[in-house]
């Protein structure tokens, strides 16, 4: 535990992760990644090359003083700082992640800012925290003016996307996703568990976790970054494969727009997945040991890696089929 965390125990942690394809034609190498992620002059970017290329920015803090969202309408004012950081995996997938934790109770007045600044990523409630109502409120999203951790993650992402290093030529069409999470303490003696993982809207996922009380919120955020990354990969590759069904047999009345190159549409659609996405699958690469078992649960059901392997196999089969010269193919391959 870091010195800053010695304050009262957090009974609730919460965060949101935005995940998107880096809008650049070429993946960034580690030096460029360090430039992109250098959000603070006084702290270095964390870079690692094993087991995959990964960069993470230092945390930046945002001061907040606003009500916490809650499911039952109770308005709990809270003051403190939200931590946010960005990460880049294999120079290709960009994530911004904002998170904070809340102790069970705080004084009913605002303290000098110095108090909050030495507790980075801690937001203190005025009075007692109605934990369950706030946890539900955080996942459901608050009202205008409530503390919105997604806003902070989104703001950081916007800032990064404006970086001049990026040529804004993404190699494929894709949709950013959001993953919102809350972590509550597990019963004493219990290990971490995932209570719920939902696909709320098109691009919103929500996760509700139980973690042992001594778990660092940065580690929980790290786990959720990892979940978000792999969920985004699955979502994106599924959509690529959905798209080729459209391209492979256009209705004759509505010819597809003419394309500049004469590769079959299926190959054209699948190629970016092979070039840019298929090698990114590496669950648990950077998840704290204590939380790694949570992945086993997801592997069991719904079976993230199982689905991924099926998708990868489909892509390879498609490309293999198209490698056969068409006179030898009896029928046009259809996925």
């Amino acid at each position: 535990m870091r010195p800053g965390e010695s304050a009262p125990h957090a009974v609730l942690a919460c965060g949101e992760v935005r995940t998107c394809l880096l809008p650049a034609q070429q993946a960034l190498d580690s030096r460029a990644a360090a430039q992109l992620l250098g959000l603070r002059a006084d702290e270095r970017v964390l870079l690692s090359e094993r087991p995959n290329l990964y960069g993470r920015s230092p945390d930046i803090l945002t001061g907040v003083d606003c009500p916490l969202p809650s499911a039952n309408g109770s308005r709990v004012r809270a003051v403190g700082t939200v931590a946010a950081r960005a990460s880049l995996t294999e120079g290709r997938v960009l994530q911004s992640s904002a998170y904070f934790r809340v102790p069970a109770a705080g004084p009913d007045h605002r303290r000098p800012w110095g108090h909050y600044l030495v507790r980075p990523g801690v937001v203190e409630p005025f009075g007692t925290l109605p934990r369950e109502a706030v946890a539900q409120g955080l996942l459901a999203g608050g009202r205008h003016g409530d503390l919105d951790v997604g806003l902070i993650a989104g703001g950081l992402l916007t800032r990064l996307l404006r970086h001049p290093l990026l040529d804004q030529r993404p190699p494929l069409k894709s949709r950013p996703t959001r993953l919102r999470w809350v972590a509550l303490p597990a019963d004493p003696g219990d290990g971490p568990s995932i209570e719920r993982f939902t696909l709320a809207e098109d691009e919103l996922r929500t996760v509700r976790l139980r973690v042992p009380e001594d778990t660092r919120s940065a580690d929980v955020a790290g786990l959720c970054d990892d979940l978000a990354l792999h969920d985004w990969l699955l979502t994106t590759v599924v959509r690529i494969l959905d798209g080729i069904r459209l391209g492979s047999a256009p209705p004759p009345a509505r010819p597809r727009p003419t394309a500049e190159d004469d590769r079959p549409p299926v190959v054209r659609a699948l190629r970016p997945a092979v070039d840019h996405l298929l090698h990114l699958w590496m669950p648990r690469a950077r998840v704290a040991e204590q939380l790694a078992p949570l992945w086993d649960v997801l592997e069991e059901r719904p079976g993230f890696t199982r689905q991924w392997q099926t998708l990868v196999q489909r892509i390879r089969d498609q490309l293999t089929l198209h490698a056969i010269p068409s006179p030898h193919r009896e029928v046009e391959p259809v996925p």
Partner: protein
Amino acid sequence: MLVFAASDKGGTGRSVTSANLAYQRALTGDHVAYVDFDFGSPTAAAVFDVPGAMRGTEERGLHSYLEGDVTEPARIDVWRQTEHPLLRARPNQSGRLVLFPGDAGGGEFATGEDALERCADLLLRLHGEFDLVVVDLSAGRSYAVDMVLAATAHPRMRYVPFRWLVFHRWTRQHVIAASGLVHKENGIIKGGVDRGHDEQTLRDNIRFVRAAVPDPESPLWAQGSPAQAAWMQACDEALRRLAAEHRIGDSVVLGVVPLEPILQWREQLITEEDVLATQIANKETLEALEEIARRLTDDSHWGRP
């Protein structure tokens, strides 16, 4: 691909036609965004039949986004949220069709650098997500026109392909006005060059769409007298000459949408059902829309072999 829909005057069918083009492209499997930058009079909600979904977006529309009040503009999934019974049964193999509404009651406004950066952020994000982004712009040399001219000249957007469609009706006044909007001293081309666009490139990426054009051959006019028919022919001829003189002749026309009675009554999407089953819309109208939608990305119609 970004497509900007502009017109000099209101009532040219710009919004309803560009919405129909977006719809047609989504039917062919493209993922399409329709961005309502018609700040004066947003009509997209009516065309896509999403009045219910519009409730609650009043303060989260494009206005609020550009002014920095919200970080993400509201989006409406048309297939899912439309009240149009035919559209709700999303056709198989269609792409996504997403409306980005303006704020209810938001008029024109003027803001500076920040709005421009946010506009570029938005267009880049949509370009990364959608195959086609249709941006409906307020009529005239509006703030919306200036903003997207500046945004597309922004260094961050240098690799994003864009095209302009200028809609006008087939009358003397509209032909002259449409030409003025593009070619005059304070027109789109001059305005674009002032903001850093290359004149020739910008010119090559502007095409015209003639909307609500009465076809003298159409059965609609079959009841007319021979004198009326001759008069219409002569008018049509004269207008073609006028258009050519004003540099908006046939070579820069992407398509012609015939006068469609149901669009005169109600701004709506023209579906296959309207033509085949209920027969309230004309086949020619649907065909024209399908053809223009196809030509949006067909380089041979944009002066590129």
